[in-house]
């Protein structure tokens, strides 16, 4: 099973939609709230090369934004 990490803030609409989407498909993920987790924020910036949320890490792949097609492809949804 893939290891899925979501970097998000509590208030961004695409973060909310992304997390709901993963839950609907019974995908287990770790949510990193970058609004207070400074280490997590830096990890996200280093991995994605940008500061916009959400960012999804699926194993070693980084997906910026709620890109449903790429998420489906990586997770076989």
């Amino acid at each position: 099973m893939s290891i899925v990490k979501v970097y998000s803030t509590p208030t961004c609409p695409y973060c909310i939609r992304l997390k709901e989407y993963l839950k609907q498909h019974n995908v287990v993920f770790e949510n990193i709230d970058v609004s207070f987790d400074q280490k997590g924020l830096q990890e996200m910036i280093d991995a994605s090369g940008q500061m916009g949320v959400p960012v999804v890490k699926i194993d070693s792949d980084i997906i910026i934004g709620f890109d449903q097609e790429r998420i489906d492809e990586k997770l076989g949804l």
Partner: protein
Amino acid sequence: MFDLVIIGGGPAGVTAAIYAARKRIDFIMVTQDIGGQTAWSADVENYTGYQFITGAELVKKFEEHLKQFSVKLRENEDVVRIKKTTLGFLTETKKSTFESYSVLIASGRRPRLLNVPGEEAFKNRGVTYCATCDGPVFANKIVAVIGGGNSALDATLQLVNIAEKIYLVNVAPELTADAVMCQKAQSSQKVEILNKAVVKEIYGKQFVEGIKLDVDGVFRDMSLKGVFIEIGSTPNSDIIDFVVKDANGEIVVDQSNRTSALGIFAAGDVTNIPEKQIVVAAGEGAKAVLGIFRYLTTRS
């Protein structure tokens, strides 16, 4: 061939879909997302029935109401063009096409760009258009908010609790936002208001490192990490080129939401109807579909 294609999933589009479903119109809804600009609103305190609700929660309510009906819904699809056909219209997205006898354009608005060097290059690298989403990323950093209206002040007041310092860069001689918000910003020690200030450039390496300004004829170079652009919005009306639009690009509609092209209707913030409000857009969506129902049943 559908009777109707509804473009957009904000308050106008969702309300239109609910009315269309109840009228048993054969339609499909094509949209990037459900909620539109409402999803980006932090707090909503003027939608009838809710004394207070967040934008995200209101969108959830919209979605639940919409999905009560078995609506044909295409999400995550951007409409690129509407064309005329022999029988009606063809709505094209990047992935598919939908033919219909009528179209309701409820495609809303998007943030207006500043159009200065560095804006595009540093998008999501310090430049952002959504304080609600990205504000928390700039904890204890120096940032600038560009604008002087309600959305700029709203962003500034959200950032007061997060950032170390906020430069409010306003092109006009005075702020144009509601007095209550201006007073709050003026009384905050974290906020420095720069009037008659024009952004010349956003610069940096991998991320934003500063902005260059002309403040009433004086050049200033400010070192900072975040630039929040809040200078209003522009209608998503470029998907159609055969209806009349006003000087701002808003689609001109009559009191029944008819455009200049027979069979094309429009509702919500993409139109020239005054007052861009969630409750107004919802009402316009309802009104449009009732008009479309009459159009479809009387069409020769």
